[in-house]
């Protein structure tokens, strides 16, 4: 039985501490908004394939804080090369988490490559991520949520979620506003 996406996101950010979160275009952005708005969320409404690299730039700029990219399998597949880029750079404060349901939920449930055997955990391992986790149940999810508080090397996790599309919860969509409030939350000039 795969995990329900909204509950999975809520579990990961419930005790987030000072975690910075970058969700990917589409469902993970709605999932994060549904878990509760926070200025330290940088919602992506576009830039498909770019979530992990936004996370890398942020993690390099803020080495004292942990950064979690939480995106979908389709979004990750579009930026697969970024796993290689991150695997080479290995920032100790970056986690890349993929909610994998094997489909493109936003566009009509077309199958993604992960449904046909493309294994993102094995890919991350092959790219040199020192920590790779495959999360299939509540126990694994709780362990991942705990790891997000204290991980000390680049982390990859696939969270197997069920293929359903709960009602959209839409956060702020003005990109300048999302950017400025994020920077303000870090004490940077907006």
């Amino acid at each position: 039985m795969n995990l329900e996406r909204r509950a999975a996101m809520a579990a990961l950010v419930k005790d987030r501490g000072d975690l910075l979160v970058v969700p990917g275009l589409g469902s993970t952005t709605w999932d994060l908004a549904a878990a509760g708005d926070d200025p330290r969320n940088f919602y992506l409404w576009g830039a498909m394939g770019g979530a992990a690299m936004v996370g890398l730039g942020l993690a390099l700029a803020q080495p004292q804080r942990r950064v979690a990219v939480i995106t979908g399998d389709g979004e990750m597949l579009m930026g697969l090369g970024s796993l290689a880029t991150i695997g080479v750079k290995k920032p100790a404060n970056l986690a890349v988490i993929v909610f994998d349901n094997g489909v493109y939920g936003e566009t009509g449930m077309q199958p993604s490559h992960t449904q046909s055997g493309v294994d993102l955990v094995a890919t991350a391992k092959a790219c040199g991520f020192p920590q790779c986790h495959d999360v299939e149940d509540e126990i694994g999810l709780a362990a991942l949520a705990a790891r997000l508080q204290n991980f000390a090397e680049t982390l990859f996790a696939r969270v197997r979620i069920s293929a359903e599309e709960p009602p959209r919860v839409l956060p702020e969509r003005d990109g300048v506003a999302i950017k400025n409030r994020f920077r303000a939350a870090l004490g940077l000039k907006a």
């Binding site: 970058v22 830039a47 394939g49 770019g50 936004v54 993690a59 700029a61 970024s82 880029t85």
Partner: protein
């Protein structure tokens, strides 16, 4: 010092003066000297990319965290960036791009021409400001103006380093 040899060093010093802390690049002969300087600098995170669009997202993340970034590429790489530039445009992220040209002068490889010849129109369509340097003497001032535009106005600024400036690629050894 020979101006033709030192322009990449001047570019590097311009990035340092601007406080650039992250440099994303896809390896490129025209940028090889600048890439080497960035890799040797302990205060710069040099990030080798698998494709140039990764660098657009890297620069956005850098700015979110308070760092200034630069993105080095060859003209062909601009084509790989077009949709990702929406991120910089929609959110007004500063984006400083340094683009070495192919396909515009003494080009031996015709495969470089289709993209090389549409670099400036594509940049304009993407609301990027263009600062072209055709001689070594123009490099530093073009780069300074691009830095001011990108980080001062939270805009996309592209320094175009002409193929004439970089020199002819040697095809036979």
């Amino acid at each position: 010092m020979n101006a033709a040899v030192e322009w990449p060093d001047r570019l590097f010093l311009t990035l340092k003066r601007a406080g650039v802390r992250q440099v994303g690049y896809v390896p490129d002969a025209g940028h090889s000297q600048l890439i080497a300087r960035c890799r040797a600098d302990d205060d710069i995170h040099d990030v080798a990319l698998t494709t140039e669009e990764e660098g657009v997202a890297l620069a956005a993340g850098a700015w979110l965290g308070g760092d200034r970034a630069a993105l080095l590429m060859q003209s062909s790489g601009l084509g790989n960036c077009v949709n990702m530039l929406s991120l910089a445009r929609t959110c007004r992220f500063p984006l400083l791009m340094l683009i070495t040209m192919r396909g515009e002068w003494e080009e031996f490889n015709p495969w470089q021409e289709p993209m090389g010849q549409i670099v400036e129109p594509v940049l304009k369509l993407c609301e990027a400001d263009i600062y072209r340097a055709s001689t070594p003497d123009e490099v530093e001032s073009a780069a300074n103006r691009a830095v001011q535009r990108a980080f001062g106005d939270e805009a996309i600024a592209a320094v175009i380093l002409s193929q004439q400036l970089i020199g002819k690629k040697v095809w036979t050894k």
